[in-house]
Symmetry: C2
Subunit: 354 residues, 2 copies
């Protein structure tokens, strides 16, 4: 820390991303990347002719990508904005829709970045405890009078709320915004997209990092009313107008175009998840009912830390959160069938030698 | 604007980037892009095998790029950080090193984004008038007691201060940070990099968008003390940890490696600038003494707005700022020799028919 850092940040704890080892070949099941490469259309779109134009700025309005996303979801382009990863959009949303008067609430067990944004922008947080089974009780959010953030499906539990319950939350909070983080919705949750037509207090945030196999390109997007999208763009144009680079714009458009590949990948992941889950249950794991591309599991004979450590020793990275309520669990990204077989073999060996 | 936007932003005016027309082929001399494509090494580094790995997150610590930059400038890697464009780094710097107690000062004529950051983060600004010849009087910054931001060379004037004067500013403000924006320094200004060894209150911000021909890749970097770099990383990891995408990391490393191409391009631009400047002077333009990849010029017989408009009609885009003191000028990016010849021909025809 330098002597120049504003004192308001002296205690701030930044987000800690999952390990990204650059030195050794692990089976990486710790950051919920897709096991599948990007669509072949992406590989054609990001070509040498386009690399040769990198001296030019990208379109700061991301018109081509916004149009493609709007088309995919049958929305108006004015209802869509994109930025450099959904993290960036979440950051803009916390900045825009919370302040010292308007606090924020979110589940005490959720994406760890929410509390970092609140700390960064000095926003009061009301953490709302999840139930004993780690699920969210939607009644806790009725008439809450705060900006709300809910990941649906939730991370790292993998659990989802039905749109009917989200609708109740929207209905009871007409003057408060619900930021709905649908990063994982393509793997079996039900999107709340249709609720945009009925409720002006809904902001849906999505990402290309999971179901579109583009974590390395950094593309997130927001779907909402034209007014809320305008607010988010105001933030973007006041912080980083050219936030999506030229090549990622091309990659995003191509990935969105390839509906078939998208369907194929997400169905594969759902199938592999269910098969892996069945095997884990057979090995006496407790596994949540995940609607995502990861499994959240614990075992009666090993702590979460032990599971994480022993898998790492066998060359398999999973994610462990040292957090009350969930520290017995590990979060395991659903990889290829082959990777999952290696995971299961490793777990069998770990459990036997215990 | 939605009803949910925090009232503190209701009057905020975002940055307005230079026009990026997607529909027609202009000679674009309005956003200071390089007229040269990226280095051939970039074209080799960003290849289909790398595109095929875009399902994986980038390294959030940007180790390869940081190492390459540190090596180029003979600094420690702990003295370097990188992010998604220098705009993003400027944003982090305003957040980190200013607050409600510690205001900021910068020249009244400078990069238009500085005042947008101050507005975004509600930081008090002391604008310091430039002299009548548009140059910065370094004495105005001595013992100023505020965080200082100086673009050197300055934009859009193109003028630069010698390091000796920057040193005086640093010396007289030991407990205040000077953010030195060296976006354009490679085109003839003198870098203040050597001052990092002597002064702990200097933060230098640079970009790959101009002299490295990579505006479309979005890469900025900061050079400073390890403590200040740690502070900036704290901001980055609290807002957008994975801010540089995989392909831009590769492009950045390759561009930094190709010292020969970098030298060639910047020398070309300097030569073309001086040649164009001489022609403009012959046509009775007043032209500032630019150390950048643009020229800042006005003509006694035409307003800045007229110049901008008439050039646009002839298919040439330049930038005009509707701002007191400089609204008679246009800012003209130095393109290829051929583009400059077209510009001069267009200006000749405009001035004759006037």
């Amino acid at each position: 820390m330098s002597e120049f850092l504003s004192r308001r940040f002296s205690q701030m704890k930044p987000y800690v991303p999952g390990e990204q080892p650059q030195d050794m070949r692990y089976i990486k099941l710790n950051t919920n990347e897709s096991p599948f490469p990007p669509s072949p259309k992406v590989l054609r779109a990001v070509n040498i002719d386009e690399v040769a134009k990198l001296q030019l700025y990208p379109d700061p309005e991301n018109k081509s990508l916004v149009a493609q996303i709007a088309d995919f979801y049958q929305l108006e382009p004015s209802q869509v904005m994109a930025a450099n990863g959904s993290d960036e959009i979440l950051g803009y949303a916390f900045m825009a829709f919370c302040d010292q008067q308007k606090g924020v609430c979110f589940p005490d067990i959720s994406y760890g970045f929410y509390k970092v944004y609140a700390e960064l922008f000095k926003i009061n947080v009301l953490p709302i405890p999840v139930k004993d089974d780690l699920s969210i009780n939607y009644r806790d959010y009725l008439n809450c009078g705060l900006t709300m953030v809910i990941a649906n499906p939730n991370a790292p539990t993998g659990l989802c709320l039905p749109p009917e319950q989200i609708e109740e939350i929207l209905k009871s909070n007409p003057h408060d915004l619900l930021i709905l983080d649908e990063a994982y919705v393509d793997f079996g949750g039900t999107t709340c997209l249709p609720l945009l037509q009925k409720y002006s207090n809904l902001l849906i945030i999505r990402t290309f990092s999971k179901s579109r196999s583009l974590a390395g390109a950094r593309i997130g997007y927001a779907l909402s009313s034209a007014g809320i999208i305008e607010d988010l763009n105001k933030m973007k144009f006041s912080f980083s107008p050219y936030s999506i680079n030229r090549l990622s714009l091309l990659a995003g458009v191509a990935a969105m175009e390839d509906k078939e590949y998208f369907e194929h990948c997400r169905q594969q992941i759902i199938m592999t998840r269910e098969k892996t889950k069945a095997s884990l249950l057979n090995m006496d794991f407790v596994v949540t009912n995940s609607c995502t591309n990861f499994l959240f599991a614990k075992h009666p004979r090993l702590t979460g830390q032990e599971l994480y450590q022993k898998l790492k020793e066998k060359g398999i990275l999973v994610r462990h959160f040292k957090q009350n309520k969930i520290d017995q669990y590990v979060r395991i990204t659903v990889g290829t069938q082959e990777q999952m077989e290696k995971l299961l073999a490793a777990l069998e060996s770990i459990l036997e030698v215990k």
